[in-house]
Symmetry: C2
Subunit: 542 residues, 2 copies
């Protein structure tokens, strides 16, 4: 397993440097590398209660990513999945704790309890007021008297942090944190284990299975169940929590990405949560977002917390901390009706023998060129240009009776619609754009030449083909330029332009761009050839 | 490869529902499922220029995640890695475009160009002002005249979106977007390919390699190079951009997570970018964050953009869009000096024969119990409790000459420090906490019993052991309660408490918690036994 790291022992130091360096001055760190890795908010003046958390790294953005006004005052970072040492925690406490005291928010792991606990004692020997709460929100193992601390910790950070920011005293902040600790319940679920930087990945979960009730360090989960899809996975997670909820109580859900689950999947899981049997009891949601990860684990965790007005206000309190996704109402997705005008514009058919004759002639030229154009296309493409154009031409002849032949402005658009429906693929869309834009221009009073040139410009803007790129543009552009001097002149220019494409070594647009120049040289581009034949055909009749 | 999806064809619809449902009412969608999947901001009144983007899904949070005030007005979502249909784009345009017109921001892929292009023509037929810009920021293939559009698109969204939000007209918004398009340059790099939901993963990149210059759809990159670590990877990416930068110009970097790179790794990459040869030319950074992903690709992309004051203001303009990470200065990480007091408090040695004799007696009791306690521990643990305690006792005897024996308040703390240094492991930390807390209490004027009880409480808070959990608490707690009635009485209570642990079927704290009750029954807990022997020993001497 490869990772974007340098030396394994430098991971946490380098990552903290990166976090602090890109914080725009909002964060700083204690000058105690390599053993003391503490991230602090830059604007701290010790005037209020400090809220300190931390633990092993590998759970980013927890904990350092939540340092900032209204959440954590400092985060003490251990190695990946390892508790920080007593001295590091003590350094964090001493660096941010003033007369108002501090609260330590600790996840229930032996190492964290002991190291934060002893650091708290040492800090108290300095006369500091230090309280500590232990988060134990994981419901995975029902019999366990002291469950692990997982993503529910974020709610404790936010509730305690918001109260401390607003000036709450240590007793009040501690009480709020204890209330949050008592209320949070979480369950994790994963399709795969995580990969430790510098180690090979353990393959524990069978291909058709999903693990339910796992921890945030890749610890084995409580059970493996058959995996049937996002809906069933969310139902299984919800099933572990439902019986623990008080009736008639609204809840906030925290939907946490354990690492490498895509945002598409997380959004689907959020939708499944809304549709689940718990959906109606959840008034608010935090996330989906990566908050308490297990490195790159492909899984999620769901935390529920009974929501009172007091806690809702604390959870909603403004914080500039970017990793905090905010709390939002969870609602039925709001719909806006489709706008009018999506169906194709219906044209009123009209007759005009001269126009009909002209169009029929164009179509016949294309139909009679089918084999030749296919042959040319075989040199650089898949040999279907002739058939594509001939098919569209036959369809257009069939459509002549329903076209607005007497209204040339409407006619352009109608032809564009017919072509985009019958031709398909890129060329159909490009010709549709050509005729639609020409119609627009004609309706604004443009001359024939002006309208067609507008069409060409738009087609080039969208298709990207420029003169010399070996496309139909190489015949069409010079032909339109020559139109003022008569159709015959335009036809000569189209032919000259088409022939030049046989000397172009590189195609820069369309499929021929992927073909070597040896295959291209000597062959006229089939699109340019079609344009030249069109102009030659109508000029001969004129 | 497993994913949190239900039916493959429902992925995008369900994900959009999830996104809208958890937006707290900020987003809505067009009522056009399954073909029309358009996400819109809820507060839109068509009074300003609309900025519309979109394309294939699988790049989340792009594009729907960037819908909101100051960024996109609407996002049109195709299937995973597939362009949305013309009708869907047209629906998006018609739904949000008023007299001020709209700008389409399109990444340079043929499907997107064609479908957005034709939709633009159709919308113009309704009399709407529609402009379009094509983003082509990927520098991976130097010869390519029309590079792909990748993460640089985000800068176009933000610059155009901020100007539109502030009331800029269509011409000004389009010009700003064109300026951004002309200036952005990006390079991608990945350790692994991405996995399409519902498909097996292509294994293209050799174990020791990294791919440079890949696209955001898992397209093969421009080259495979040997992978040597985060520093070398960033240097290779930077090397593709350096020659394109104008001299004497400051830049903003956008550091994008392509999907499943952990935040630890992204922070390390940010640090390497700062330390790279480009570091000094980058004044600001956006990210690191997931902005334009390729599903779960384990890679990153780096985008650079020359920063003018005008664009800096547009990039810094407030937006509530959560997926936008904001623009921040990139600085040398700020350091705070370590606080005083981290080194252990030095105690002034003092003599007191009675105390010395008392302590020596305690130590001798533990030393003489080594074998018995080890034997007891073998039943439930690894058989080293006796040796751990005896080793600590021997070290304490050696330390008697440097302890503040005449100052009992200081003595508690000094003993705690000695034990935490010589015992190691959980038990050393817990005893250090016991003595430190007792010392604290004594210094606040507590009686001997009160001080020791405070120590016990703190030890229990941190260690988590309660009465009946089969730990030394079961002997120590009753002994302390009995202390008022004399040492002998306390010793009797300690013994009775220790003996009761032999009847406890379950251990709830410490290592014995993992041992079956058959192994525990009939054996006294070695910690409780040690406490009982201590009390019995000193009581016999008293």
């Amino acid at each position: 397993m490869k990772h974007f790291i340098n030396k394994k022992e430098d991971i946490v130091q380098e990552a903290i440097n990166g976090l602090v360096a890109t914080s725009g001055g909002r964060l700083r760190r204690l000058d105690g590398y390599p053993f003391i890795r503490v991230v602090l908010r830059s604007d701290w003046d010790k005037s209020r209660v400090a809220v300190i958390s931390g633990g092993g790294s590998g759970h980013e953005p927890a904990h350092a990513g939540f340092v900032g006004p209204g959440m954590l005052t400092a985060a003490v970072c251990g190695d990946v999945f390892a508790s920080p040492a007593v001295e590091a925690v003590l350094a964090g406490i001493l660096a941010v704790t003033g007369e108002a005291g501090c609260l330590l928010v600790v996840k229930n792991y032996t190492g964290d309890r002991l190291n934060f606990g002893l650091a708290a004692e040492r800090a108290r020997a300095f006369g500091l007021k230090v309280n500590m709460v232990i988060v134990q929100d994981d419901v995975a193992m029902p019999g366990l008297s002291r469950p692990r601390g997982v993503a529910g910790t974020l709610l404790v950070h936010k509730i305690a942090g918001a109260l401390a920011e607003s000036g709450g005293d240590l007793e009040a902040v501690t009480q709020a944190a204890r209330r949050a600790v008592a209320g949070v319940m979480s369950i994790g679920m994963s399709l795969d284990t995580c990969s430790m930087p510098g180690s090979t990945k353990e393959q524990r979960i069978a291909p058709g299975d999903i693990e339910l009730g796992l921890g945030i360090h890749g610890e084995p989960g409580a059970q493996h169940i058959r995996y049937e899809g996002a809906r069933q996975a969310m139902e299984a997670a919800v099933g572990k929590l439902t019986s623990r909820l008080a009736d008639g109580q609204r809840h906030v859900a925290l939907l946490n990405n354990l690492g490498s689950t895509t945002e598409l999947e997380m959004a689907i899981l959020a939708e499944e949560l809304r549709l689940s049997e718990l959906g109606e009891r959840i008034s608010h949601i935090i996330g989906p977002a990566s908050m308490m990860t297990a490195l790159d684990m492909h899984g999620f965790s769901l935390t529920l917390y009974p929501l009172t007005e007091e806690d809702e206000a604390l959870l909603a309190a403004e914080t500039p901390v970017r990793a905090w996704p905010g709390i939002r109402t969870m609602d039925t997705p709001a719909l806006l009706p489709l706008p009018d005008g999506l169906s194709l514009i219906k044209q009123t058919p009209s007759r005009d023998p001269r126009t009909e004759e002209f169009l029929r002639k164009c179509c016949e030229v294309l139909i009679s060129s089918e084999a030749d154009l296919n042959h040319l296309d075989l040199q650089a493409g898949d040999g279907d240009t002739g058939t594509t154009l001939a098919t569209a031409a036959r369809a257009l002849i069939d459509a002549l009776g329903r076209l607005p032949l007497a209204d040339h402005t409407q006619l352009y658009r109608a032809i564009g619609q017919e072509l985009s429906q019958t031709m398909g693929g890129s060329s159909g869309v490009l010709l549709a754009i050509f005729f639609a834009a020409a119609g627009d221009a004609a309706s604004s009073g443009c001359s024939l030449k002006g309208a067609l040139k507008t069409g060409l410009e738009r087609m080039q803007e969208v298709g990207g083909a420029r003169l010399g790129d070996r496309t139909l543009v190489d015949a069409l552009a010079p032909a339109l330029e020559g139109l003022d001097e008569g159709l015959l002149h335009a036809a000569h220019r189209a032919r000259a332009g088409a022939n030049r494409t046989a000397e172009m070594k590189e195609a820069n647009a369309g499929r021929a761009a992927y073909v070597s120049s040896e295959q291209l040289i000597g062959n006229v581009d089939p699109g340019a050839e079609a344009v030249a034949r069109l102009f030659e055909g109508v000029a001969a009749d004129a």
